[in-house]
């Protein structure tokens, strides 16, 4: 979807000044609250509690302390000298793989667990694809003392078996979802249903910047620490700003967290990298922005992969964390106004990106950010000598079963 050249800059300015999302939870045409009536009071309550939370100095300070002492923030910005030699560019990596539990997901999970406590929830439910959000939710709930149930598709439970064990170890119940597409989408349907059944007692700890308002905004606010840190670390360690910023996009929480700090920097190119899967044919990828159209799933109007009858398409990606047919509404807006460019990397390219990062940097990235490494490499080839920042959203230990099968 394209937005007119006169309206685009106005929407971007509104986003930067904090006027978007608006009262209805809209990022321009995208977002909103397409949720069953049963959830509407709960969504309003959540928004109210979140706004109070962010305005409460003591609560924010307590969260900051946990971010430092328990997550291990700030995560480092690492200069990637091996990749620099290979690519002919200056390369910096924001290391969310070094955050507690091994991915950026913990930033959101910890923040929302604090909110769940504030709302007086009796228990927390979460959905998970790669298992990283499930592990993060399990850990954060253990930390604040709330019981946690994680919904996970049986297909994902197979390919991310190590994370299932970790969730159990952290005291969470893992609920196997053996219907629908048996991946993240079916798990999300099921977590929603559990919430619909008990909107007062259950806190739904949504894992990405998707879903009905206020989630896309709430998750971005909790993840923007990635970009805020990276921007000042870059200034301090490298000087100035990067020429280009790359991150992978599934639902898009790590990407929006990294991008947000740079949206106002006109000279910084920003690029989101989606899962190209096997091909860009319907059903063979998870590239909602590159291959989808506007539609409604899981509570928000955003770019979505669906057929001519409005049925959501099956998706395919080697990385469970990107294997989702929708994307956060803020990304849909950033694409429509032309501020962020969205490209794809396919399964094979992600595997190459992963292997190169292992070999040259001694870092095993997850398959999800491996997509971003590939796209950054392609850009570097066309733009030699430039300065690149890549969001490394998580570590790849969880992918060992997939890697053993693929490599």
């Amino acid at each position: 979807m394209k937005i007119g050249s006169s309206e685009g800059p106005l929407l971007l300015a509104a986003l930067l000044s904090g006027d978007l999302p608006d009262r209805d939870g809209r990022f321009g045409p995208f977002g909103g609250r397409f949720a069953p009536e049963t959830l509407m009071p709960a969504l309003s309550r959540l928004e109210g509690a979140a706004r109070q939370f962010f305005a409460d100095g003591e609560a924010c300070e307590a969260l900051d302390r946990e971010r430092r002492q328990w997550i291990g923030r700030p995560t480092p910005l690492t200069r990637a000298r091996g990749l620099e030699k290979a690519w002919g560019a200056e390369v910096w990596i924001k290391r969310e793989d070094l955050a507690h539990t091994g991915a950026h997901k913990i930033n959101n999970a910890l923040g929302q667990a604090h909110l769940a406590l504030r709302l007086g929830a009796r228990r927390v439910v979460a959905e998970t694809g790669a298992g990283q959000h499930g592990v993060a939710a399990a850990a954060a709930c253990a930390r604040v003392g709330l019981p946690c149930s994680v919904y996970m598709g049986v297909l994902d439970m197979e390919r991310q078996a190590p994370n299932v064990q970790r969730m159990h170890q952290l005291g969470a119940e893992v609920v196997a979802v053996d219907k629908g597409d048996r991946t993240l989408r079916a798990a999300t349907d099921e977590a929603f249903r559990t919430w619909v059944a008990d909107p007062e007692g259950v806190y739904y700890l949504l894992g990405s910047a998707v879903g009905p308002h206020p989630y896309p905004w709430l998750v971005r606010e909790l993840q923007r620490i990635i970009g805020d840190e990276a921007r000042s670390q870059f200034a301090e360690q490298a000087g100035g700003l990067p020429d280009a910023v790359f991150a992978c996009v599934g639902g898009g929480s790590n990407a929006i967290g990294l991008f947000h700090a740079f949206l106002g920097d006109e000279d910084v190119r920003i690029c989101g990298v989606e899962a190209g899967g096997k091909s860009l044919d319907p059903g063979e990828n998870a590239a909602s922005l590159s291959a989808g159209r506007p539609g409604v799933l899981h509570g928000s109007y955003s770019m979505l992969l669906y057929d001519d009858d409005g049925q959501v398409l099956e998706t395919s990606s080697i990385s469970a964390g990107l294997d989702y047919p929708g994307v956060g509404p803020e990304h849909a807006l950033l694409q429509a106004v032309g501020r962020v460019r969205y490209v794809t990397a396919d399964d094979a390219e992600a595997l190459e990106g992963l292997a190169e990062c292992c070999r040259l940097e001694g870092i095993l990235p997850a398959l999800e950010p491996a997509h971003a490494f590939h796209a950054a490499r392609c850009w570097a080839a066309k733009n030699p000598g430039r300065r690149i920042l890549i969001g490394l959203s998580g570590r790849g230990d969880k992918d060992m079963p997939t890697l053993s099968a693929a490599l």
Binding site: F34, E37, T38, P41, D189, L297, D308, D309
Partner: protein
């Protein structure tokens, strides 16, 4: 049938004019088989005041296991909104007003204006869209209204008083009172709490109020008769169809 009335008005009077409570059965189009569509529709229409037809969707997030299963089966049978509207045209007058129940995305894909036109020509008096709450529905509501079709609003026990008034005023055809917080399916007792809730809804509404979610037995229907103008029977009908039983007989047994 009085043709000077709009579809929404016909739906409204079909519920009000019936001996209380009116019965509104639900079935998923093309379930259990595509070939069953016309016979199921006729059979249900014979025993009911209006029939609710479910459009299958890949992600029915407000539905329990029964309707999820029916939806999945119908999709596997190749059912789409377009197919349903074509079959309804072929079916002709079912004798009672129809209500379409669909998640929003299939409607978006079809085109809301075209949908409103098609519905008006096919005895559809109302639409229920579970993931299109009041804040998001204005455009759809207006377009449907232009063709005399009501967008049925759902209210729940958790709906605050002021919002309840807004939803009741803004509804079309009838008001859908969800009697329990939760997904569809499963039997629930009619409690005193529910009676108070239903009275609260009726007090806000000039339109008939129909109770839904978890209605399965004649005893429940009898109790609801005192507080609801109509009763929506969903998962129980779908279960019945899945077992290959006569859903019309089942509906008649609920009036016993």
């Amino acid at each position: 049938m009085n043709t000077s009335l709009t579809g929404a008005e016909r739906l409204q009077s079909a519920i009000i004019d019936a001996p209380k409570p009116a019965l509104l059965p639900f079935f998923t189009a093309g379930h259990p088989g595509k070939e069953d569509f016309h016979s199921t529709l006729s059979n249900l229409a014979d025993a009911a005041e209006a029939v609710e037809i479910g459009v299958p969707f890949s992600d029915p997030m407000a539905d329990g296991v029964t309707i999820q299963r029916a939806s999945e089966a119908a999709l596997a049978n190749g059912v789409s909104l377009d197919w349903i509207l074509r079959e309804l045209k072929a079916h002709g007058d079912p004798g009672v007003p129809l209500v379409l129940m669909s998640y929003y995305n299939p409607l978006l894909a079809y085109g809301i204006e075209k949908l409103a036109e098609s519905c008006a020509e096919r005895h559809v008096g109302g639409l229920i869209v579970p993931d299109l709450p009041w804040e998001e529905c204005d455009r759809v509501r207006q377009l449907l209204l232009g063709h005399g079709i009501g967008l049925v609003q759902m209210v729940t026990p958790a709906t605050p008083a002021e919002r309840l008034r807004t939803l009741c005023r803004g509804s079309g055809g009838f008001v859908y009172a969800v009697t329990v917080t939760g997904v569809t399916g499963g039997e629930r007792r009619v409690s005193e709490e529910m009676t108070t809730y239903m009275q609260r809804v009726s007090a806000c509404s000039v339109l008939p109020v129909c109770a839904g979610f978890g209605v399965r037995s004649a005893a429940q229907v009898r109790t609801l008769a005192d507080v609801a103008d109509g009763v929506i029977v969903g998962s129980a009908v779908v279960d019945c169809l899945e077992r290959g039983e006569d859903a019309g007989d089942f509906l008649r047994s609920l009036r016993a």
